[in-house]
Assembly symmetry: none
Homo-oligomer: 229 residues x 2
Amino acid sequence: MSRAERLLDLIQLLRQYRYPVSGAVLAEALGVSLRTIYRDIATLQAQGARIDGEPGLGYLLRPGFLLPPLMFSDEELEALVLGSRWVADRADDALGAAAHSALAKIAAVLPDDLRHDLDTNALLIGPGAPLPAAEADLAVLRQAIRRERKLVLDYRDQHGTTSQRIVWPVALAFFDRVRVLVAWCELREGFRHFRTDRIAALNPSDQRYPRRRQALLRDWRESQGIPPR
Amino acid sequence: MSRAERLLDLIQLLRQYRYPVSGAVLAEALGVSLRTIYRDIATLQAQGARIDGEPGLGYLLRPGFLLPPLMFSDEELEALVLGSRWVADRADDALGAAAHSALAKIAAVLPDDLRHDLDTNALLIGPGAPLPAAEADLAVLRQAIRRERKLVLDYRDQHGTTSQRIVWPVALAFFDRVRVLVAWCELREGFRHFRTDRIAALNPSDQRYPRRRQALLRDWRESQGIPPR
DNA sequence: ACACTACTGACAGAATCTGACAGCAGCACC
DNA sequence: GGTGCTGCTGTCAGATTCTGTCAGTAGTGT
C-alpha cells in the first residue's frame, strides 16, 4: 500500500474513535512502524488536520477538519449560489475559483434532493459595468489584509501624480465599477481610500502592522459615519 | 506537493465539475503529467471513489463520497461571506435574510480560528446604483421559478402600454440596476424578458407548467447565444 | 477516416519513504 | 522517587515509490 492510501486510511481510522487512540494501535492497524505513524500524523497536521496528541493518552481528531453534513432551506441555497455566482463574475479570479470550490464542497455534503436544487438554481448574474482592465492583484491585497501586513504602494491619484506610501490595509470594498482598498496611510497618518486600478505597483511586506485590523476597521467605520453591522 | 495532498486536491477538483473533464485538464491544473493523473485516478478508485472514465469524454465523480470534503479554506470563506453580503445588500429582503442564516449555519460547523476569520472578514460591498423603488415581489417570483408554476403578469412595456400575460418563469437575472424575469410567454410563444420594476401586478398560480425548467433554461441559453456553464 | 480520449506496460533516474536506534518530555500510578 | 506508558524528534542507509517519457491499444463521437 502506498503512503497516500495509508494516509487516507489513517484519517478514516481516526474519524472512528471518539476517545484517544495510541500511536501503537494505529501502527498495528496500518501494518507500519510507530515511527511512521508519527510521520504520517505530522503530514496530516501539515495539511490542516487538527489532531491532538496527548502524552500518555493518544491521538484524537478534533472536529473541523472535514466538512460535516449540512442542511439548508431552498432560499438559503439560492442565496449561496447567487452570491457565489456574483463573486465568480465580479471579483478576482482567485476568489471566483474559491467561490466555485466552496459551492462544490457544500454540494458534496447535501442530501440528494437539496443538491439537485443547488444544481438547477435559476438565479443568474447579468453582465455588469465593465471592470477596470488593469488593476492591482486583488489576491495579494486580500492576503495582506488577512495577515495584517504592511504594503508599499505606488499610487496615481486623480491628478495623475504618483506617490509612494506605506499603508496598513484594512478592508477591500467592491463597487459596481471599481474596487477600493481601505487603509491607514503612514504618510498622512489617517485612513485613505485607494482605487485598485490606480495602484501602479504593489509590494507586500512581511512586517505586521501594530494595531489589530478589527480595531482599525471600527475606527474607519466611525470616521466615515458607517454604522457597524 | 506530496502525492497525498495531490490526491485530495484531485478529488476536490473533480467535485467541481458536473460534466466530464479530460485527464489533460486535470494534469494541467495539478502540474503533473497525464500518466500520473491516470495513476492517481486508479489509486482513488481503488480506495473506493466512484470515478467514471469515459473514453472521448473525460472523468466524472459520482456523488456519495469516499471522504467528505476538507474544511473550507480561508479564501473560500472570504468568497462565501462576500457573496452573502452582496446578496444581503442587492437582492430582495427574504433572500438577504436567507444569506445571513446560511452563513450562520456554516459558522456553526467551523473551528474557532476559521469562525474568527469569518467574523472579521474585511471584504465589503460598496453602495451601488440605486435599485428600483417599487418592483414585483421577488420572493414570489423565485418561488414560482422553483416550483415551476405559471404566473399571470400585468406588464408595462417601454412604451407604457400594459398587457396581461401568462408566463412560465424560468430564471431571474440580477443586473446592477434592474432585475429581469426570464420566462416563456404563452401569448407570444417565445421567451421574453420582464423587468421586475415594470411588473404592475403579479398573480402566482397553482398550475404547473408543462415543460421542465432545466430544459427551458437550456433552450433559452441557446436562443440567446449564452454558452452553458 | 479522424480527433479526442481513457488506459496499460516498461524503464530509469529522482525523490521519498521506512524502520531501527537513541534520546527527551509529560503524565499517572505505585 | 521510580516505573511504565505515551508523544515526539533526529539521523541514517537501504528499500521503495514515484514520475515522466515513450510506445501502443481501444472506445467514442464527428
